[in-house]
Amino acid sequence: MSAPADPLVVADDAAVSDHPGQKAPSAVVVRGRRSLVLRRFRRRRGAMVALGVLVLMFVGAFLGPVIYQAITGWTYSTQDYTAFLQPPSPDHWFGTTQIGQDVFAQTMRGLQKSLIIGLLVALISTGLAAVVGACAGYFGGWVDRALMWGVDLLLVIPSFLVVAIISPAFQSAGWLVLVFLIAIFAWMITARIVRGMTLSLKEREFVLAARYSGVSSAGIIFRHLIPNMSSLLIIDATIAVATAIIAETGLSYFGFGVQPPDVSLGNLIASGTRSAFTFPWLFLFAGGLLVATTLAVSVIGDALRDALDPASSRAGGTK
């Protein structure tokens, strides 16, 4: 390296920038974290494919039934009394059930519900865990004690019992309440882990540095603490998607949430497993879509994790 013109440009390592100072300063765009993460995310082809799959499923779930009805005339609630337990055919793309319901229409209807339930629950429960855990860990003192008391309380209360008791009150409120109910019992363990990680993170000097630069507590929690736990949180959310879809089936036994004639992927799978080998179409399509959903979410989560983590070389450089 030749001696730089400015005596101060004694950068310790010229290797970091390929050509330091060669670009005109105005040409340098200072990108924030958001755009850098986005770029790194976009460079992952697998993630883009998975994102495409997820979008396709949404489109299929919401537009599919409409188009299908226009072509074949079936909806999820109608029955074809001429076709019981028929395998897939041009008339019934995914076949029919014991009582002549159209499996395609039902699966798409179920997918609508399950996609929303899965993603919303994951978002709410992980978000709650992150915020509560980080607040408890960061503020300490009575905030910590109060929040952790709440967490422990929710942990020891048997969730199904609570649901059974309060379900009559919410019977008519519809399945969106279900989302909140599933979420409310799914975040506590993660919140405890987050709190523990916060306790060690907040000792790091960058938290102190942020505080001394006038950053508010909320700023520190959302800008520094939570992003530094993103790997854990993303994994947690990914798992929560599948768990929530399955859990919804369990809750439906209480006569709660998604009720016949309405369907969800969960109860399609539950009723289809019994005849998975004899009448595979009853099970295969719903099951396949559940697997596809979880797979897509986990691939996206994985890529997001790498994009957020600068130490990950798989996401490539920042240029």
């Binding site: 005596p7 004694v10 390592d13 290797a15 200072v30 630069s213 508010s216 800008r223 530094n228």
Partner: protein
Amino acid sequence: MSDVGDDVSQVPLLSVRDLGVVFPGGEDGDVPAVRGVAYDLAPGEVLGIVGESGSGKSVSSLAVMGLLPRNARVTGSVRLRGVELLGRPDGELARIRGNDIAMVFQDPLSALTPVYTVGDQIAETIRIHQRLAAGPATQRAVELLDSVGIPNAAQRAKAFPHEFSGGMRQRVMIAMAIANDPDVLIADEPTTALDVTIQAQVLELLETARQLTNAATVMITHDLGVVAGIADRVLVMYAGKAVEQGPVGPVYAAPRMPYTIGLLGSVPRLDRPGQTLTPISGSPPNVSRLEPGCPFASRCPVVLPVCREVEPELTPTAVGSAACHRADEIVDGSIDGVPVFPPPVLAQARGLVARTERPAVLEVREVTKRFDITRGAVMRRKVGSVSAVDGVSFDIREGEALGLVGESGSGKTTTIMEVLSLQAPAEGSIVVHGKDVAGLGRRERKELRRDIQVVFQDPLSSLDPRLPVGDIIDEPLRSFDVPRAERAARVGELLRLVGLAPEHANRYPADFSGGQRQRIGIARALALEPKLLVLDEPVSALDVSIQAGVLNLLEDLKVRLGLAYLFVAHDLSVVRHIADRVAVMYLGRLVEVGDADDIFERPTHPYTQALLSAVPIPDPVAERQRERILVRGDLPDPANLPSGCRFRSRCPLFVELEPGQQQRCAEEDPALVEHVPGLASACHFARERTVVPG
């Protein structure tokens, strides 16, 4: 000499040839940690091995000891009195270790077994190697502990390692090492973790141990000053290779290898306040991915095309040997009269208004911070309190750097944390820019943050690893609602100000070296254009060659931006380099305050004098002529301080005083008063003394 048939008297005591160590399977393939080290040692001789972290200096000695993990491939030869040690079975080596070669580690706590008393551990080593009965061995252990300066040796022998302070533990380690009268003593960074006054004690002890046993000593360190003080010969290591070797005096006076020149030019020196440091650009290479040619080529200012093709061998020079193609051309650190490392041009201080006429940016008055001591696990009750900071007062004027120095436990960190919190202290007052922090509302307090910013010690933990550098630097601006476009422009400006490029804004902290990260930390601190920067040990986590660049930057910024610094450091050479005024802390109190020149040239407090005389100077001639003022023992328990003067238990002056005078020290707590013009010191018998050679 490799002939075993040679006359024994001509065979060197320890002879290392072509030593190489490869650790297989690192992240980037095999790691050749050592790539050729050779030296001979005669009885009683001291060899200093210096190098930065990762240079292979420790690994080479562990290889000599046979202490490397099994998977390491060691090549070459290590002969003790002509007998080859490499390739011997572990059992035999274990006998040689401890009997003929002993080692002192940097961290004695991990080298001592926690569940046995130190007396037992030393007795054990003696019994294994000398076939003594239990009784005499224990007796000998106590004698040894006594000889290394452990007070109450008979009693302390029954204590466990964790019950000793760091310095005392290192003494125990040395007692254990000399227990069997070894022929060779290897000390691996024995004083790095210790405070400077304790370092002086331990170095003195090592010297005594060497004289007692006449052992040849290998001293591994990164501190050029330590080597200058005790070594006869020096070996400089870089990227796993010995790059320069020779007698200490001539090598320090006229180094031939550019790396050595750079290293010597980049350490701040106690005895050269005005010198401009010459940083070495870049950082050491990754040894698993070495390019052909000289490993220093990427950082060498006088590199030739041939350097990038042929790796220079260690060839004899007038006094020693150096591995450089241009070694013959280099005279006095210059080639044809042009310095190998030209000193950088820094902004020069303009004629400043007299200190008293400049406004104060920070005034700290009688600040005290106490911590409660509590007992009991179930029922916590307060049994007393210790004051970490006790009535500390100082002020910092515009454009001035105050160095706050003291050893660990002195309360300097607590002091700056009190200042930075901008909260009213429990006792005393803190005034920033004319505003007393006690009367501030939430908004005013935030507004005041603009004026006072901080740079932390550890550049690794002070930057959020998940944020791109641009976001890190722009954070203070964002929290003060600076518009977006302005922020982006300012980030580029700040990066250039600290010697980085604007395009670095889009990278993450992990992409940068330690020195660069510290620059990013400085850029963040400067974002709000503060008047005062609090620098908490800003260079102590950096390697010497990197330190210089950051120090130069700080010096330059101070002049260019008219900044005031509150500079906290334990390294007095660094403080000497940067501070205009100095405040010395001991056990929560200021013991001496004054202009830097006064404090360093004619300190009046015995503690300051001892502190300064303990700092090694990287100049063998000056270093050996200095008179050492050693403080005794360790820091007393803050909950149980001596009566009268707090320094009494360790004061070197106290023991020389008349009984009547001693009584005054024991009864009357000395106040911080001016004994000589411009120097306030807290000692009844303060008197000037020169401890740093001019």
